[in-house]
């Protein structure tokens, strides 16, 4: 056998092998995808999203699926690495033929996939986490093209606006200090907080940051205290915030402490314990205090399945809603990605776990389901994350159905 025929045969074999690998996988099931951190430090976000979505999918399948077709979740671990997220999004769409994706766990990952989703893959994505504003307000949106990225989670601009406005307008604090994490989320958050303070005619009295591995925040806390901060606004996740409140306790510092939604779940109280008492957290969802029946059912189902509390309810609840939004859209328009996208922009009302949307969830120009008006401020009170409500006498929380406890505006202590 001559060398050239040998070569051709080999090449043909290689080609054939690759074709078989890619050709497979068209089935009757409707597939949804997820690519996020399922290992590493950020994995708790990914795990919550996956668990939330799975509960929704199992519920739907138990009731006969979508028009008789079973719903399936294909999940991938991107290790919090945008390069992998891009690869896996391509794989999910091209090989697994998913018709919708439930976000990722990392804003940088979403920013990396956004142009590919809009230009090449053209499959709708609903993000329960990842709050960088530009994810949904992307190039396609600005140019008026079809935008395939949606969000049921919080978005950066709205969250910062809500935090600043609540402290300045409702609590009357004009001397606000910032304490943010140098990691991804903190950097954007810091910028957004500064912007909103400026829009309120203020500038922060102190602006400190900390690192992933800081376990003692003494310098930062003393500086903010000496700067006369009436409250400290923070962007960080559970572990960093734990170190902040522990340091505050060590230094006997009582300055009110207000955090973005990174600590809006039982994991924070579990880690920080009573040091967390009185910490305020802005969020979209709290699973403590009075709940709707649907949410109670979800919380119970979660406990039953995993034998533990949700570490961050916002992500699980958001993923659950994302799946139901996909279901609603698919039922309306069929399981074709571009039609699902169009249908998502036309859901007039949606009873979700995050909230009951009595307006269109998304519109052509607004791809964030939750706006700053939908945010709530919560206070860590004896292990529970209770919503802070306001009446004529000031802010209060309901420790049980019948007890109102008012909050001191300068110390955040219960009166």
């Amino acid at each position: 056998m001559s060398r050239s025929t040998h070569l051709i045969r080999l090449a043909a074999a290689v080609a054939a092998a690759t074709f078989t690998a890619t050709g497979a996988g068209y089935a009757q099931d409707i597939k949804l995808g997820f690519a996020g951190a399922l290992s590493g430090p950020a994995s708790f976000v990914g795990v919550e999203i996956k668990r939330g979505a799975e509960i929704a999918i199992d519920e739907i399948n138990a009731k006969g699926g979508i028009k008789g077709r079973k719903l399936v979740l294909i999940s991938r671990d991107d290790e919090h690495n945008p390069v992998k997220t891009v690869a896996q999004y391509r794989e999910l769409v091209e090989r697994e033929r998913v018709v919708g994706i439930v976000g990722a766990t990392n804003s940088a990952s979403m920013l990396a996939v956004a142009p590919i989703v809009n230009d090449t893959l053209k499959v709708p994505v609903i993000c329960p986490a990842t709050d960088a504003t530009e994810i949904t307000e992307n190039e396609a949106q600005k140019q008026g093209r079809d935008n395939y990225l949606f969000r049921v989670g919080m978005y950066g601009t709205g969250q910062a606006n809500f935090m600043v406005d609540t402290m300045v307008k409702k609590f009357g604090h004009n001397k606000v200090g910032l304490l943010t994490w140098t990691g991804g989320w903190g950097v954007t958050g810091r910028g957004e907080l500064r912007r909103r303070l400026k829009e309120n005619g203020l500038s922060p009295v102190g602006d400190e940051t900390f690192d992933n591995n800081d376990t003692d925040m003494t310098p930062q806390i003393i500086k903010l205290k000496n700067a006369g901060a009436q409250s400290i606004l923070n962007y960080a996740l559970v572990r960093e915030n734990t170190f902040v409140v522990k340091t505050k306790e060590k230094l006997n510092d009582g300055t009110p402490y207000v955090s973005a939604w990174g600590i809006a779940g039982p994991a924070f109280w579990k880690a920080a314990g009573s040091s967390a008492e009185g910490v305020l957290t802005s969020t979209t969802v709290t699973i403590d205090g009075p709940q709707s029946p649907e949410r109670t059912a979800f919380i119970n189902e979660y406990r039953k399945r995993h034998n533990e509390e949700m570490s961050a309810a916002v992500f699980a609840v958001g993923a659950y809603d994302a799946v139901y939004l996909f279901k609603t859209a698919i039922e309306k328009s069929g399981a074709e990605p571009s039609q699902i996208r169009a249908a998502l922009e036309n859901i007039p009302e949606f009873k979700g776990l995050v909230k009951h949307f009595k307006r269109p969830v998304f519109t052509r120009t607004r791809h964030n389901a939750v706006t700053e008006e939908d945010m709530i401020m919560t206070r860590w009170t004896n292990g529970k994350l209770l919503e802070v409500k306001f009446d004529s006498q000031g802010p209060y929380v309901e420790t049980d159905a019948s007890t109102k406890k008012y909050i001191d505006k300068t110390t955040m202590k219960l009166l």
Partner: protein, 594 residues
């Protein structure tokens, strides 16, 4: 096996070219692009860590330099219609990005390469960390943790290269990177680089400025990484500090080690494996690290030299592989040497309060064989170390042909014509016998790096003549039949002779032999004596430090005796033999009685 190589290469090229066509969609193509880009970075790291043995755990930083530079430049220029229509901004950005990475490579290499081993690893880790932090903190320029998005896609004219087009661009660059690595490593430059891994001090003993060579290698490596970074930025259209974390640097080093450090294809195999493996392990997501770790451990067990170590296909070194000297081939006789006169005056040196040499002075006549003897600890090796530039003396002067010379380091000594051998052998591991000699031969060329890359006709001619000279030297020492043998496979006596051959290749005017007869058998010592006499005949000055008195007395013209760091006698062998001081201090009382 060798006959299969062209076929294998052709097959690889055909499959690589066909990949985007053979697979639907962009997933495989995208993975191919990423493997190609990471492969380029890994190839650059392989030159530094695999071949030169200098570990870097900061290469992600150079990639970041390239990526951010091109991102900022192309974004700034993309508005202008000239660039919008020509697409030149992207290629300009790639060029600038690579340059910036190379320049930052210089900046780091200068302090970093003063240290070795884990210290070097830490300096590179620190650098990677600093760059990564700056990317995060300098929000105004780098966009902080959210990075830079909407980086222009590469374009040719107005034609925009999508992933499936860019694949071919990366493929071409990738092949170019491999062949560049091949050229570098197969050249004399590459031999020196590889030799560094085994003994820096021996490389500098043949007149190579090792520090400078390491800096050059480091910069080449950084440029590869930077170049890979620029391609990465334009492929992804989005970069953030996440891409260039410490773990990315670990990834590249793992790729090199896993594939086979110091093999031509190892880093590529490693990169491909480490990218594809997790893609195949989706079902094990929760146990990903366990699977990963076990695979790495098992592979390391089975393949301690990496995957390519299994095939042991080192770069085909461009050396004629004929074994030994062919019948009828003319052996060039060694050209005459103008042996220099060497005088040391009042040399002193102490180590932590211990006086190793005190006020030592003597003279070696040009073209003579001068022996330096003395009991253990007399200061003989210290003296050789000072004359050959390993240590600086605390005081005293060294004069060559009557004028004072400053010998600041070994390679300076070698460049002045003072070359030495080592008491404890310092050979270059598994490099072949003839490579040891070729490394040391002086080149007329200004830049052997330029020669390596360009392969000019002049360079080819020179390498031809080098081959002849090298063979002549091996012949002189009687080890010509071993020219293709790896040094670490040689018998002890042959290793000694190879050390001398390597030193002679530098064409020394003064040759310092540090106990050349140690460990040799009688027959070998006789051959050694013959070699030393031949060298004298062509005019070389020889300083012989030796314990073997028979050899010393039979070849030396003059002998200096050291004891406790001071000269106790100096004269012709016959005089020394009778000198009372020497007999007392060195030969011992029993000899005196005899």
């Amino acid at each position: 096996m060798r006959g299969m190589r062209p076929a294998l290469i052709a097959l690889a090229l055909v499959s690589l070219t066909a990949l985007p066509l053979a697979t639907g969609g962009t997933y495989y193509t995208y993975l191919g692009v990423i493997i190609g880009i990471y492969g380029i970075v890994a190839v650059g790291l392989n030159i530094l860590s695999g071949y030169a043995g200098q570990f870097s755990l900061g290469h992600a930083a150079f990639m970041a330099m390239g990526a951010y530079t091109t991102a900022l430049i192309t974004k700034a220029l993309s508005g202008s219609p000239v660039f919008y229509l020509s697409g030149a901004h992207v290629w300009l950005g790639i060029l600038c990005g690579t340059t910036v990475a190379a320049l930052s490579g210089i900046l780091l290499a200068i302090p970093a390469l003063r240290v070795r081993g884990p210290y070097l690893a830490m300096v590179t880790i620190a650098f990677g960390w600093v760059v990564w932090k700056i990317l995060q903190e300098w929000v105004g320029v780098t966009g902080g943790d959210l990075g830079i998005s909407s980086i222009p896609k590469p374009q040719i004219g107005t034609f925009r290269l999508e992933t499936r087009h860019f694949y071919y661009v990366v493929l071409v660059f990738f092949i170019a990177a491999l062949s560049l690595q091949h050229r570098l490593i197969a050249s004399r430059f590459g031999m020196r680089v590889r030799a560094i891994k085994y003994s820096e001090i021996a490389v500098s003993s043949v007149g190579v400025d090792v520090y400078r060579l390491k800096v050059v290698v480091f910069v080449i490596s950084a440029a590869f990484a930077g170049f890979g970074g620029t391609l990465f930025a334009h492929q992804q259209n989005y970069i953030s500090p996440d891409n260039f974390q410490f773990f990315s640097s670990v990834f590249f080093l793992l790729a090199v080690l896993f594939g086979g450090a110091g093999t031509s294809l190892g880093p590529v195999i490693g990169a491909a494996f480490l990218i594809i493996l997790p893609e195949m392990l989706h079902d094990f997501d929760h146990y990903r690290l366990i699977v990963y770790a076990c695979l790495i451990l098992i592979t390391l067990y089975v393949l301690p030299r990496g995957v390519m170590g299994l095939f042991d296909l080192p770069v085909k070194r461009k050396i004629d592989t004929r074994a030994g000297i062919q019948p009828g081939e003319r052996i060039e006789s060694l050209p005459p040497v103008a042996g220099a006169n060497l005088r040391v005056e009042a040399l002193s040196r102490s180590f932590g309060g211990l006086l190793a040499l005190s006020d030592v002075g003597f003279e070696i006549e040009g073209g003579s064989i001068h022996a330096l003897i003395g009991p253990n600890g007399a200061g003989k090796t210290t003296l050789i170390n000072i004359v050959s530039g390993v240590y600086r003396p605390d005081s005293g002067r060294i004069l060559m042909d009557g004028s004072e010379v400053s010998i600041s380091s070994m390679h300076v000594a070698a460049q002045r014509g003072i070359v030495r051998t080592f008491q404890t052998l310092k050979l270059f591991g598994d490099m072949t016998v003839i490579e040891h000699v070729l490394i040391a031969l002086p080149s007329r060329s200004r830049s052997i790096l330029y020669d390596a890359v360009m392969r000019s006709r002049r360079a080819r001619e020179e390498s031809e003549s080098h081959l002849h000279q090298a063979r002549a030297l091996l012949h002189l020492l009687g080890i010509a039949h071993l020219e293709q043998a790896p040094a670490n496979s040689l018998a002890y006596g042959h290793r000694r002779l190879l050390e001398i051959a390597r030193a002679l290749a530098v064409r020394p005017r003064i040759l310092l032999l540090d106990e050349p007869a140690a460990g040799l058998v009688a027959e070998e010592i006789r051959a050694l004596a013959a070699v030393i006499r031949t060298l004298k005949q062509i005019g070389m000055t020889i300083l012989l430090v030796e314990h073997h008195m028979e050899l010393v007395l039979s070849v030396s013209d003059r002998i200096t005796v050291l004891d406790h760091g001071a000269v106790i006698a100096d004269g012709r062998p016959a005089d020394i033999r009778r000198n009372e001081n020497v007999i007392q201090a060195y030969l011992g009382p029993s000899h005196a009685a005899a």
